[in-house]
Subunit: 409 residues, 4 copies
């Protein structure tokens, strides 16, 4: 296809100083973020085009190789050095959750804006400290964001818009499932995500956290309390490297180590606005690769989303005439939809990587206009408190457990 | 389409005496059953063709009109009379749940086979008494069945077959939703289903019971315990007839009466074989007309079903080669599928009413071959005990509650 | 489920004489029709309840067995005898197409109403003679119908209603596919449907005819001309019975006979109202069991249907606000939808067999109210002329061929 | 999500000279290509990382603005200057079709590799000249590619792999639809795509060309001949700018100009390997935003694709046991699928823009390994010849028209 339509200019002037970013971590998330920082200004108008100036990783050789591939000039092997640099405006934290608090606190203390991957931290206490620091920093114009990237899905953003417009009426039901299957094989090898020390929790924190954030954000209601069940189906797994020929499934006879996190978590919930919720997160739903689903039923309408069809939103309008009512499959790729006017013609969908481009666009826009970051650390802390209530309830025979709203110390 | 293929003969001889049936109740379920008793012998081979000889209803005029329409010769206005008749072999109970126990106990005492609509009763105590009576009657060749008609859906029966064949491996997840929306309008009028005295419970007993039965039957595991939440969104509704112009929504100003049952119920569950379950039943899922859904994930395969596409089963086979794995949409209309070889060519699906034909075929086959009825009263009692545990848990802050396996008296 | 809602009375009085029917043929279609004649009066109000008094088949033993199973008292082995009987009001023709003309002409001459399975005949000449006879008979109150049963699908009937209401605006596209796969195996045995003498044509007449009728009926436009291609993929097949162990696939070495009809037909079309059409009919679309699909795009809306989800209609309303546009999946099971108010509560779908019940209801209603039958023989003749134009075009290098509107003799 | 898994290094050394690219055109396609040239080396291993050195556009101000946004240093306002530059290795043609031939011929003559957007040209004669020049240039190591970007969709590439592996057996049916709706409004304004001089043809060349290329590429068969129908529903449209307030729909009273291309094209086809095909391309299928669909049925399996769910492939395996047969919905996001191992974890889908990244990766890989480009100009010429045969057939009453295989001059 060739096209003579002019794409609208985005950059309004080269006079603005670039927004200089240091990325901590260069694995899956580091790559996604690096790609997004560079891509965003080509599609979204920005006065201060971002520029990744430093990549941080512990291993110098591997960090250098990653930086070369990602076209980042400089590297550091200690994140403290990046935080101290004068040529860095934003610290982008893409490391595992057990390191988030320390890095974020140092960065905020140094006056750097922070974008921190989710989960905000591995404990509520850490998240509370981070939030307090973020609120203090905000008084001096230093901003902090948490990377719940699914909020940047056009279809979910449209769902939220519909709720905000009142199209759903009074919300009654929230139904969230996050189904994966990569641990379904009982001989898939152990990794850090199955270690409570590093990962905090299992399916709950890794993917359930996304559901909690999306459910609260789209519905506009907070979770008041939960009743939960958690389960580990496979309590030991082969250690990687203890036997030859490890692939998806480990060779027989490999030494095994303990799984110390949940394989699956499920809970019912009550919301602040009167809705009730059902949540499920698992890595054992064989055949469901990444089914991040959210359905909300209100008195006037409903929405339903499944990330496996990420460019679609199902929408039911109860005001349609009765003979013609039905869930509409909206291709959320139209110029009037969130984010999509910056990309391709209608019907030409986006991908997972593009969500991070939207996140960068939103972060930069918030910084440029000095508006509140969404989600900020406080919102991420609230998610953390829900996860904590889930774990508490599961530990106490599923008893209904209230989500704390203030620091418990 | 015209076709010269011979349909296989079903009736093997007119020498057998017909199986004479009395139907108690002539509303929705009575009509469905009457239709099924008459239709079944035309499609399923039966030595003893059933014949509905009596229809029972309290109002003589209306019962007579219904009997005429259904081509049933005789009527009774007192069910006791039907139970006493010599020309009745089977008592088919299609009345509301608060009457089931009395009728069934009398019928069994009179030596009549009993087919009783679900739920078996409105209380565990009643269900226990019925089960005890059924077991006693069974020693004299008198059989009793409970009408969980969804078991007769070819797609669900295929799912069960797949589980029994080991195709799913070890079962980890059971995920059941039964979503309707007919109470979504807060001004929909009050009816008997919203009255705890008559209906026993609301969404839980009406539709959640189907999910519990299907989940246990397909998975081959019983529910050991539950943690539950129940909720009533709209606690009063217009009384029918108190204002003019009642339609789907009552006129403003109509007098309102209390809703005494749950509008929605949700619970997590642990199963006897190690699976965990998530259940939700509601009449407030706007846009979901009759979404009776069941998904089961095992270590080797998964199945997923939604009654809104009742002729399909989704099936994932984890043994498929990796590049070609995906949920298969099976059109469950093939000659090798349950029930469907008795009907139309492949691809010509069945409807809701046909499930009752299958139920009749199964009941008659069990009687003819003197094999155990499925489900018998004992299975239905176990469902009742699950519902009771759900209500108990919901009443005690969702605390995990064990399902009784024996009489508690 | 038990229900106390009263089902509306249908029969208005036993004083009317029954409508006595003779069914010619007792294979697939004969069974479907017999079932429908008996079932219809239980769900649809009728003053003259139909009654099948005679079943006709050439083989006495097999016909008797079928009559017993179908609860029909009397049989005949010569259709002429049925036509002559005084106790028959309707002749229902369920035999292969090569016999339709002779039977229908005799029946009309004898003053019997006629319901004739599609295709109306195997040639345009026969169809013209039948139509002329039907028009003549109509002047004396004798009615004739052609059994395009898919018109009785609630979802397709709703599509037509939407077109009639102007919801689609000016119609531009008609897109019809009828995909089956039962001949996909090159060793599936020969049968009468593959014999041009008996069947007239192959996929074209058997299933393409349904598409032509549905497309014209729903769109409200007639096909003016076509450009066609026909193809036979497998030109010989094993004769049934020439080798042992015939199942889906014949044993190696079986004797083969010629296939003399099309395996697949495809054509483009121009419609009388300015729409253009694309049609495809095949029995070689492996995996498509009975995908009878129709999509219509207009200037204001679109509808799409697939029989594999027969209880659903996809509907796009171009007047929806832009952000919320999308195809609606309508569960066509609501009280406001065609036919469905006579059956079950919303969301409890119908099956293939129920279409014939609707057909009976429509035939009886037309007879009772003395309104024009739909479709009458004239409409079926027009379909036949389209099929003829398709064959002519395919025989002449796909040259665009006009559909005749008047007799060509 | 945070992840410690190492992403594999891609760049093997900085010693290789970069591959310098000039992009001609900076509208929709120019932006997509520029994005892709820069993104590809971050995800796909490349010895010679590409670098866009020059952007070409006629208007200096607008070209400069686009270059700034796309981070391209230099611009030219005459494509001839770009062709002459020594610091350019690849000419990437993203202008309308009427300019392709002149630019490509000059570039090849200057020894530059050429990537030319589809359609290759607006006439067969031009395409033949381009192909001849490309073949001559190839003898000196100069390569030429045509940008049929849909080939880079992982799901379509998987479909082709399945065909190549023999999973489909003998191919019988090819069914291709490309349905859009952006001209459905009769008052949508005129643009260059509706002008035969500039665009060559309408729906046929713009989107039908994609279907033809994909159908031939996936099936492995060429189209031998076609029988076609073309239609223009709306033959005049408002001139942009002749009335105020132009949006999607022009104001009443605007001056109108003629539409000189087809709004829709449909044709049947015969393939070189015995398959038959049905094609339809339209911009009037209201509600279908970008439904680029392809289904292929073989004797052993089938595949079906719809770009509206671009990360999925439907696959039917006729060798599955009969009770478990059904179309599999494959999430084509697995490490074993084409392209996807370079991106995200399984289940995290790609978007439209990513296809161009794959295209760059394939082009660079072909140049690095000196293997034949796919598709080359010869393949694109064959597509052009099919389009020409379609137009010829449509002009001659749809008569079956053979596709030329050699130059006709």
């Amino acid at each position: 296809m060739t096209e003579s339509t002019e794409v609208q200019p985005s950059s309004t002037g080269a006079e603005s100083a670039p927004l200089r970013v240091a990325i901590i971590g260069h694995a899956f998330m580091g790559v996604a973020h690096a790609h997004a920082w560079r891509t965003a200004p080509r599609f979204f108008p920005m006065a201060r085009a971002p520029q990744v100036t430093v990549l941080v990783g512990r291993d110098e050789v591997r960090t250098r190789a990653a930086a070369d591939r990602l076209e980042i000039d400089q590297i550091e092997t200690d994140w403290r050095r990046a935080v101290e640099r004068d040529d860095v405006d934003v610290i982008d934290i893409c490391t595992p959750g057990d390191t988030h608090a320390e890095i974020a606190l140092a960065a905020l203390a140094a006056g750097k804006h922070v974008l921190c991957e989710k989960p905000l931290a591995n404990s509520v206490a850490e998240a509370e400290a981070m939030t307090a620091a973020a609120e203090k920093a905000a008084t001096e114009g230093v901003r902090s964001f948490c990377g719940f990237s699914y909020r940047r899905t056009p279809a979910l953003a449209l769902a939220k818009r519909f709720v905000d417009e009142g199209r759903l009426g009074e919300i009654r039901h929230v139904r969230a499932q996050y189904l994966q299957d990569w641990l379904s094989d009982a001989d898939a090898p152990l990794n850090w995500r199955l270690d409570r020390e590093k990962a905090g929790s299992g399916a709950l924190g890794d993917i359930g956290a996304h559901s909690v954030d999306a459910a609260q954000w789209v519905s506009g209601q907070l979770i008041d309390g939960v009743s939960a069940m958690m389960h580990t189906f496979v309590d030991s797994r082969p250690l990687a490297g203890t036997a030859e020929g490890l692939g998806g499934s480990a060779a027989a006879g490999a030494e095994r180590g303990p799984v110390t996190v949940d394989d699956a978590a499920a809970f019912t919930a009550r919301f602040s606005g009167g809705a009730i919720g059902v949540f499920e997160a698992t890595r054992f739903a064989l055949g469901r690769r990444n089914a991040n689903r959210l359905e909300i039923n209100g008195s006037a309408g409903s929405v339903a989303f499944d990330f496996e069809q990420m460019n679609q939103l199902e929408y039911f309008d109860g005001r349609d005439d009765q003979a013609a009512q039905g869930f509409r499959t909206i291709q959320v790729t139209d110029a009037v939809h969130p984010y999509t006017d910056h990309w391709w013609p209608v019907g030409h969908g986006l991908g997972y990587g593009d969500l991070f481009v939207h996140q960068v666009a939103d972060v930069v826009a918030a910084l440029e206009t000095d508006t509140a970051p969404r989600p900020d650390f406080g919102e991420a802390l609230q998610v953390q408190r829900v996860l904590h209530a889930v774990e508490s309830s599961a530990a106490e025979s599923s008893r209904y457990t209230t989500v704390a709203r203030t620091a418990q110390a």
